[in-house]
């Protein structure tokens, strides 16, 4: 595995100019789920859990899910890193940990600047108009009021919401799911990022919008120092990434140039 890493690094060219932007050092992430031990949600089960208090987590019925197990890597400026692996292999968890959104159980992630996840869904409110959501989403991502005012028209035009009438002044709950997804992407993609992380779901909206959003992602990549992309679509990984991390059961199984890793991965998945 160490050799693979070196291979990947040599891809980016001269050694001296390489500036690390993300360093993961023996990273472990553990989720704790309350009352999932027996699967029985009954009151007596909950009571006996509380009575067993004081002892360790296992006895109290707190189930641990060890999602990421000791992952280490160094990502450099200008790299586009793809994350692949089967469902539940810890890709999204790793992404969140790099962004500093999930606390690490042990180990550390060092980053240059503030990595950001592409997405603002959680900050938006369906009962508010599209207009107010643009402002709210922008503020939630840390943009200033002036920045939002500057980009407002750009965001609305990009989403294409107003192509079929004045929809931006209607509450978001009146939008079709495609329209809402387009507006969400447009808001999220309006900000420039140091380290940008994209978690699948690029394929929203109609074909026309998909093309537009792929273009926007390429633009963001140029502006951002390092890009991480989680996807199950090997083609989009091939198109955008020059290095791939393959996670399986929370462990880093392979790290190297895109073609090599994807070839192994396809062999593994029996494609």
């Amino acid at each position: 595995m160490a050799e693979d890493t070196r291979d990947a690094q040599s891809l980016t060219g001269t050694d001296d100019a390489r500036i690390p932007t993300v360093i993961a050092d023996e990273l472990h992430i553990v989720y704790r789920v309350n009352g999932a031990k027996t699967g029985k949600g009954s009151a007596t089960a909950a009571l006996s859990r509380i009575l067993k208090r004081g002892s360790d987590d296992a006895a109290r019925g707190v189930r641990k899910v060890h999602a990421v197990k000791g992952v280490s890597f160094v990502a450099y400026k200008g790299e586009a890193v793809g994350l692949i692996g089967s469902n539940g292999s810890g890709k999204s968890t790793l992404l969140r940990a790099i962004a500093g959104l999930l606390p690490a159980e042990s180990g550390r992630v060092y980053t240059h600047g503030q990595p950001s996840l592409l997405g603002v869904n959680a900050a938006l409110m369906n009962d508010l108009t599209g207009e107010r959501n643009v402002i709210l989403g922008g503020l939630a991502m840390g943009m200033s009021r002036e920045q939002i005012r500057e980009r407002y028209q750009e965001i609305v035009d990009f989403s294409g919401i107003n192509e079929k009438g004045d929809f931006i002044t209607l509450p978001m709950r009146t939008y079709s799911s495609g329209m809402a997804a387009r507006l969400r992407f447009s808001i999220a993609a309006a900000k420039d990022h140091d380290v940008l992380m994209i978690d699948e779901a690029l394929a929203t909206g109609d074909r026309k919008f998909q093309k537009r959003s792929e273009e926007r992602i390429r633009e963001l990549r140029k502006e951002a120092g390092t890009v991480f992309l989680v996807s199950h679509n090997n083609k989009s990984i091939r198109d955008t990434c020059n290095r791939v991390l393959w996670l399986e059961r929370g462990e880093l199984r392979m790290d190297g140039p895109t073609d090599e890793v994807i070839k192994e991965y396809e062999k593994f998945t029996g494609k």
């Binding site: 690390p20 050092d25 962004a99 709210l136």
Partner: protein
């Protein structure tokens, strides 16, 4: 040292921590210092305000009467309490009707302000995990934003309250100016309490189930619908003193003192302003530091 054919990178052989240090990388998701945290929070002030306003608007956006409910809800609330305690139970105990009704309505509104701040605080983190796990911002933005939402809600209620006071012959005078400092102090106290509850609720979501009972007990003990010294006249003196000094009772009594002409200083405990300020400072500062101490842990699990 012998020169090797290929130049060796100066990064070769460094541990992760050393490498990070060399290039000025910082630990992702680490807790900022208290001063830095306050600065970050200040930078997000527009988000905090916009979020609280958005929540307030979204609340009634599906109702036919829309934002009219902002005023109608407190009005109906006051009517229910008046019917139960004023008419059926006759809790006024010697207070004339034109004093008792504003007394009751003030108590209900002021206490509801604290009560809803606590309830919103409990769910501030645990109910917004999606937001916490998707975006970066000082987490204290959430409880503060919810407390601010309750303040805006109270301002709507104040319109009703003024109408009730004037309707019962208590016209605006100089003492109404005291409303402003009372509101500021109570808001500080509520925000601190919301911050404390937010951290507790993030760790133990069960609190959301438990808090309504705690709050109801607190409400009945704070003299929302009766005067504490009169109601507890035959009980030991210390009990009345303790109840009167609790922050909810203090803010309620100060607000009544400001609004109602016949509700004079004799109804207030000694050093009441010092107590009001003390509670506000203690909870606002203590709650903020307490919340900040767990900043990097919100969003786990």
């Amino acid at each position: 040292m012998v020169a090797v054919s290929a130049p060796v990178s100066p990064d070769e052989g460094l541990t992760a921590a050393q490498l990070a240090d060399r290039h000025g990388l910082t630990v992702s998701g680490a807790r900022p210092s208290l001063v830095e945290y306050v600065r970050q929070l200040w930078d997000r002030r527009h988000f905090i305000l916009a979020f609280s306003r958005a929540k307030l608007t979204a609340q009634y956006s599906q109702a036919k009467l829309g934002q009219l409910w902002q005023v109608a809800t407190p009005l109906l609330n006051a009517a229910v309490y008046f019917f139960i305690f004023g008419v059926i139970l006759n809790a006024s105990r010697g207070m004339p009707k034109d004093v008792y009704i504003p007394f009751l309505v003030t108590g209900v509104f002021v206490f509801t302000f604290t009560q809803s701040s606590v309830m919103a605080g409990v769910r501030a983190i645990s109910g917004n995990l999606g937001l916490v796990r998707a975006l970066h911002f000082p987490r204290a933005s959430l409880p503060i934003s919810f407390a601010l939402q309750q303040l805006q809600q109270l301002l709507f209620s104040m319109v009703v309250l003024f109408a009730v006071a004037i309707g019962f012959g208590h016209y605006p005078d100089m003492s109404w100016a005291l409303i402003v400092p009372v509101l500021i102090l109570q808001f500080l106290f509520n925000t601190g309490l919301a911050l404390i509850m937010a951290r507790a609720g993030a760790k133990t979501p069960d609190l959301a189930q438990l808090m309504p009972f705690v709050m109801r007990t607190w409400m009945y003990a704070s003299g929302v619908m009766f005067s504490i010294p009169i109601m507890l006249a035959d009980k030991p003196q210390w009990l009345a003193t303790v109840l009167q000094w609790n922050p909810a009772a203090i803010y309620m009594d100060l607000m009544r003192f400001a609004l109602i002409d016949e509700y004079g200083a004799e109804n207030l405990p000694d050093h009441v302003w010092a107590a009001a300020g003390g509670w506000a400072a203690l909870f606002a500062l203590g709650g903020f530091v307490y919340f900040w101490k767990a900043e990097e842990r919100y969003g786990r699990g």
